[in-house]
């Protein structure tokens, strides 16, 4: 039995057909006439499956174009190595950290004008805040994943991870390579110090978390929780909810200090030769009829406030003004400028 909603191409196109027809009718004639190719980055896993099976074919049909997706990392160095007037991607889909790296170098447009992407008018403010590049189409909430079969009370605070009973049983990430680990470090600064940028407090708090198991990817953390290798770990809500209905003894806890936002960001490259199509893609991805099935397939919180989720998802995802108020966004530009120093310091702390 699986909690993930299965979605056939037929049912998807049927469900989105009406809206697609309206959008296609309203789309610029130039878009409907061309057969251009849009190049974009893409995630793998269930996200990639849904994109390939339904979303991309629907876009290709509607805009009479071809969409080429690339899921081979790393995106940012490849974009760096490509001439700006002939970028490797027309749309960069990545997390916010990487988007800021690209934006600082002028490799992606930092802002998207609502005139080009009308659906931006309907997104929650966090999706286009000053902490963002481009627009966030979805977000996950980073808190704790924990085992429910070990007599553990649901953690309420980020400080609970330091509880002595979790020594050697707590998990986080290899900070230099994982943005969740980086955000967790900043959150330590907030809960133990003066704020997200209080690195001294963060380093001291990190020292207190030893011994701690660290992982490269969230997928590894999920399996470590499932196998009982760790009993509590820093994880995004979708990494727990995807096992919903599978009778697994794991649950998500949102600390009272707030949850960190792990945004799925889209930004357009300035040198794209198919810019109109790139904006159309961003607009398409923000459409409620596209956001709903994707959100329900992978348990991501949609950024378009008009999306009406089924009750099961509506109860858990961050899709109301009150819920998104709990999201904490970090200043990635600030972090990236200090990353090398932070990496060196963190390595010393965790090695010692």
């Amino acid at each position: 039995m699986t909690a993930e909603r299965t979605l056939s191409r037929r049912s998807f196109i049927k469900a989105t057909g009406g809206a697609s027809a309206i959008a296609a009718f309203g789309a610029p004639a130039v878009l409907r006439a061309q057969t251009a190719t849009l190049k974009t980055t893409a995630w793998g896993g269930k996200w990639g499956e849904v994109m390939k099976a339904t979303v991309i074919p629907a876009f290709e049909k509607e805009f009479r174009c071809k969409v080429e997706t690339v899921s081979a990392f790393p995106y940012y160095p490849k974009l760096q190595a490509t001439p700006k007037n002939a970028p490797l991607y027309d749309v960069l889909h990545s997390n916010t950290s990487e988007q800021w790296q690209a934006a600082v170098e002028g490799l992606v447009e930092p802002r998207i004008d609502a005139k080009n992407v009308p659906n931006i008018a309907d997104v929650f403010p966090y999706a286009v805040s000053d902490k963002m590049v481009g627009v966030s189409m979805f977000t996950s909430a980073i808190g704790f994943g924990y085992r429910t079969d070990k007599g553990i009370v649901a953690p309420k605070s980020w400080k609970d991870l330091a509880d002595a009973k979790f020594a050697g049983q707590r998990g986080s990430y290899i900070i230099p390579v994982n943005s969740l680990g980086q955000m967790h470090l900043m959150m330590l600064g907030k809960v133990y110090g003066k704020g997200l940028t209080d690195l001294d407090a963060a380093y001291k708090a990190l020292e207190q978390l030893k011994p701690i198991k660290t992982f490269d990817f969230t997928g590894q953390m999920e399996k470590a929780l499932l196998s009982g290798e760790v009993t509590i770990g820093v994880l995004h809500d979708s990494g727990i909810y995807r096992y919903d209905g599978q009778n697994q003894p794991i649950e998500f806890a949102a600390p009272q200090e707030g949850v960190l936002a792990l945004e799925q960001v889209l930004a357009v490259t300035p040198g794209s030769k198919v810019k109109e199509l790139a904006y159309a893609w961003v607009d398409f991805m923000l459409r409620p009829d596209i956001q709903k099935p994707l959100a329900e397939a992978v348990w991501y919180s949609p950024s378009n406030r008009k999306v009406k989720l089924d009750a099961r998802y509506d109860a858990k995802l961050y899709n109301t003004e009150a819920k998104v108020a709990q999201l904490i966004q970090v200043d990635w530009r600030w972090y990236n400028e200090r990353k090398d120093d932070i990496d060196a310091r963190v390595a010393r702390i965790l090695r010692g």
Binding site: G44, G45, F73, T218, K223
Partner: protein
């Protein structure tokens, strides 16, 4: 009394060798257990036996297209790197070339550079030249790092080559082409074949170069696997690993059976 120290030495020898074999094979055993275990995570002892991860792997269009692409690229790389590597080795060993040592070092240099730098450099070159990322770019990248293996193994065989055999053939009336195909090639074949096996494995498992050179929508198996484990670290990865191991072993066994590698190695 006399035999005891010898027995102890033999026991120590066997223990050390056993430990080495255990160290080498243990990861494969763990992968096999993970591939057959029904739980979607590594659990020991295993709770049962299932083929669901193999079914998932073989029924996934993404995995299958990646596997097929990896096999096709590796086959091309074997042909190209074997031809180029063997010809280079012959030229370097026989050609009386000025600066032969320097040239040898140059040909082996792809092994000295981190593969990720080689991949990035090739990627930049293709982009700046406006070529994009064709499949042949991927093949060229893999060939670049596979050639040194063929070169090294062929040079090793050529170092012990008795040229009088070739001279005898020539004296008996064989033209240079016949000498090459009927005398030289059969004698250097063990080195060439060993290099070809390395080339296949290097290409099939190649990740750093492929990360930069894969074609949109056409990703090799290691790239797909890396992308997969970022989101789904389940037994399908272990099943894919077992398939890779079996393919590599099959290649070696087939070559041994068809060409009789063992007989040549004894030379």
């Amino acid at each position: 009394m006399n035999g005891r120290p010898l027995d102890l030495a033999r026991a120590a020898y066997l223990t050390v060798n056993g430990a080495i074999v255990f160290f080498l094979l243990m990861p494969i055993a763990i992968v096999l257990v993970f591939a057959l275990n029904p739980t979607p995570y590594i659990a020991f002892p295993p709770v049962g036996v299932t083929l669901r991860w193999f079914v998932k792997f073989f029924s996934s269009p993404d995995f299958m297209s990646a596997l097929w692409l990896s096999l096709r690229v590796a086959a091309l790389v074997v042909v190209l790197s074997t031809t180029i590597g063997a010809m280079c080795a012959l030229a370097l060993a026989r050609g009386n070339l000025p600066g032969a040592r320097l040239l040898t070092t140059l040909f082996l240099s792809p092994l000295m550079l981190p593969a990720i730098l080689t991949g990035l450099s090739l990627f930049q070159m293709l982009m700046l030249a406006g070529i994009g990322r064709p499949v042949w770019g991927l093949v060229v990248g893999h060939t670049l790092v596979a050639v040194p293996y063929v070169l090294r193994t062929t040079l090793a065989v050529l170092a012990n080559f008795d040229r009088r055999i070739e001279e005898a053939a020539a004296v008996l009336g064989a033209n240079p082409a016949r000498v090459f195909f009927e005398v030289t090639l059969p004698l250097i074949r063990p080195g060439v074949i060993a290099g070809a096996i390395f080339a296949f494995i290097v290409s099939f498992d190649q990740l750093p170069i492929s990360l930069f050179l894969v074609v949109p929508g056409g990703e090799t198996l290691p790239v797909v696997l890396l992308n997969y484990i970022r989101f789904d670290l389940d037994g399908a990865i272990a099943a894919a690993s077992m398939v890779s191991i079996v393919l590599a072993l099959t290649a070696v066994v087939l070559l041994e059976r068809i060409i009789g590698l063992r007989a040549y190695v004894r030379l």
